[in-house]
């Protein structure tokens, strides 16, 4: 069996297992294990596993994920997120599909302090999904909106994938964040426009009017805690009191305290927070472990390394090469998770891209390519069959079939495609803000 056959074999095993309802983390784990064992035998593989759980679970960089999920549940059980969401809904309520738009707004706001898209999706879903359901939104539109809006968690800085890209390519994280700012805001408006068009084209997805609560004194009072927390976290991060990672801890702790002060939270409700956090965090981290196994098995085949020279031999124009890479990411993203994908491929593609001439300084190319990569890995979070965000949101909406959620994501994928093309052909949109940094 040659390396390419082996690579295809690993993917085949994974896809077959997934198709027969094996949890996707376990499907990746088993396929990765098979691929790893084929190449190295038992010894290296078993030793690799000795520290794998520790390596992935005890990670400071990834600690933001359970902390933000916990923060979301504190806010939910403490009645705080609900107040925030009714506030957003009161603002957006006058538009058709207003609650869906309010979800996008809430995800964007949450994304400005959270660097993870699954955490953003899970948090806002816990408050927005019941509300949308109550107001008669279809499961399709509600879950599709939340899955897509959750990607604002990485599109709007801070952004975990961008941090990893910056580490791998030795680029300035602050500049990458600045470059992501405008594309992130475009994404937010793009999603709102997608909702506005969708609810008009496809009847029966959203109620004619939301009858959202008016902006009462109580509604305003209800958002005071979250505004304070938001100011504390935002002010603390941008005022230099703590790092974005520490901000996750501050956010969770202050939400905890706010819930205590509101006296809405009991020991029983705390336990509900922990159970709910356990369910989503464990699910996500088990996928990380599975993806690790897949990645290592694929890296061992050396196929990813050879890919660069194959693409190089085609003699394409620089823009075509980038377009080909991005297309490859879309395909790969369908079956892999975003972090693993970047870890696996950037060391291969980045040096290749840096040898091409785009008529821009090298640093600009590096930043622009980073933003393009971010845009397309975000596709992977939504695209079937393995769109992590879709699963996270769908998992919280037990009565909505996964196929419905995928249908609901389609309008947002159109919006994503248009935005990606815009940024591909007009790098200046990303690079404009960068010159004001550093």
């Amino acid at each position: 069996m040659n390396a390419v056959e082996l690579t295809l074999g690993i993917f085949a095993v994974m896809l077959v297992l997934m198709a027969v309802r094996v949890p996707i983390s376990i499907a990746m784990f088993v396929a990765g294990t098979a691929g790893y064992l084929t190449q190295t035998g038992w010894g290296p593989f078993s030793n690799f596993l000795n520290t794998q759980a520790f390596a992935r679970f005890a990670s400071y960089d990834l600690s933001v994920i359970p902390l933000f999920i916990l923060m979301g549940h504190f806010a939910t059980q403490g009645g705080i997120s609900k107040a925030l969401f009714s506030f957003a809904a009161a603002i957006m309520g006058r538009f058709k599909g207003g609650l869906a738009m309010a979800s996008v707004l809430a995800c964007a706001a949450f994304g400005a302090i959270c660097g993870s898209s699954v955490a953003t999706a899970a948090t806002i879903t816990s408050v927005a999904l019941p509300e949308m359901k109550r107001h008669g939104y279809s499961g399709r539109l509600a879950t599709g909106t939340l899955a897509a809006a959750g990607t604002l968690g990485i599109l709007i800085p801070p952004s975990v994938p961008l941090v990893i890209y910056a580490i791998l390519t030795e680029q300035n994280i602050a500049k990458l964040f600045a470059a992501a700012m405008i594309p992130g805001i475009i994404a937010m408006f793009g999603y709102m426009v997608a909702i506005a068009i969708y609810v008009r084209l496809v009847p029966g997805q959203a109620p004619e009017t939301d009858e959202a609560p008016r902006l009462t004194r109580d509604a305003i009072k209800g958002v005071i805690p979250i505004v304070l927390i938001f100011l504390l976290v935002f002010g603390g991060i941008y005022g230099g009191l703590f790092t974005p990672t520490e901000g996750a801890g501050v956010g969770a702790a202050s939400t905890f305290v706010a819930a205590l002060i509101k006296r809405e939270i009991t020991w029983d409700k705390f336990k509900q927070c922990f159970y709910a956090t356990a369910e989503s965090s464990a699910m996500i981290f088990l996928i990380f472990i599975g993806a690790d196994l897949m990645n290592s098995a694929l890296a061992l085949t050396q196929v990813p390394n050879q890919l660069a020279s194959v693409v190089g031999s085609w003699g394409l124009s620089p823009l075509m090469v980038v377009a080909a890479i991005l297309l490859f990411y879309v395909v790969l993203g369908a079956v892999m998770d975003e972090l693993s994908m970047i870890l696996l491929t950037i060391p291969i593609f980045f040096p290749m891209v840096m040898t091409l001439d785009f008529g821009m300084p090298k640093e600009s190319v590096a930043i622009w390519f980073g933003i393009m990569v971010l845009m397309v890995v975000e596709f992977g979070l939504l695209a079937p069959p393995v769109g992590l965000n879709v699963y996270v949101v769908n998992g919280m909406a037990k009565d909505v079939p996964i196929a419905e959620s995928y249908r609901g994501v389609m309008p947002f994928l159109v919006s994503d495609t248009l935005r990606t093309l815009l940024l591909l052909f007009f790098p200046a949109i990303s690079l404009w803000l960068v010159k004001y940094v550093g």
């Binding site: 190295t40 010894g43 290296p44 030793n47 690799f48 000795n50 520290t51 794998q52 390596a55 990670s59 400071y60 960089d61 801070p158 941090v163 910056a166 580490i167 791998l168 390519t169 030795e170 300035n172 994280i173 602050a174 500049k175 964040f177 991060i237 941008y238 005022g239 230099g240 009191l241 703590f242 790092t243 974005p244 990672t245 690790d292 196994l293 990645n295 290592s296 890296a299 061992l300 050396q302 870890l343 696996l344 950037i346 060391p347 980045f350 040096p351 840096m354 940094v437 550093g438």
Partner: protein, 325 residues
Amino acid sequence: QQGVTLKFHTFMAPQSNVWLNMHKAWMDKVEKDSGSRIKFEAYPAMQLGGTPVQLYDQARDGVVDIIWTLPGNTAGRFPRVEVFELPFMMSNAEATSKAYWEYVQTMAPDEFKDTQVIALHVHGPGVIHTAEKAVKNVGDMRGLKMRAPTRQVTKLMGALGATPVGMPLPQIPDALSKGTIQGCVIPWEVVPSVKVHELTKFHAEFDPAGGSLYTTTFVMAMNKNKYNALPPDLKKVIDANSGLATSAWLGKVQQNGDVAGRKAAADRGNNIFNVSATEAQEFRRRSRQIEVEWVEDMNKRGFDGRKLLETARSLIDKHTKGTKA
């Protein structure tokens, strides 16, 4: 003729000085010296999985064949090596790397006994980089929020009156730009990758004659069984690219990386200065307590702490005199 392919695994980024000019260069040389009978599968950026903490075990357990990592990542494991990370120990990377190699052979031969050690080296002198305020004397450090790279430098920051802030290296630019930290301690070589020359204005160097501020130890190691299974002539190729000379070479190349980082800061018109001899004396006086604590810690672990410290110091002296920096 029989050939072999070795998997080289590390955490360094594929664009870094360390990867391109040290790791790749070393692999290319071995490949050439062996007449292409030793080949490498090179994996930067932890492509084969795990985190930097796991690298040493990966070589020991045969998950991969050769690794490059920091012994300090798993601090309690290579306790005696930490002597080179004490403040004001190192002179220059080449000489200190030689001393480090010789020290491990003579004073701590069992420290890396689980692997076939290829090289032991350190990076160039650590420099204090600050955003708003020049650090010309110890008093200037008071209250500064500083990111420190190692356990010993963290202690040093505390001893100097600064507030040490712990964070992973990649968070430095963001933290500096927002003022979460007001400065950091890293060698020049690392400066461009975390844009410290753009985010700070003042850089305090110390005259290496009295010991440079700090350094970090590195180890390049090979799986023992893999090494032992090599045919004799290939073993010789590895041997010829291991040891004192290779360690010195790695140290030297890494310190050469300092030039570009220093130039980047100078080109921006940043203020680069030497801490005066008298003020440096005060820095050293404050750091003495850290040595004492280290010696006590070694004694507790059943080693002769004083002897370890003195040997390391005299080896650095010896090799510094014998090496033109």
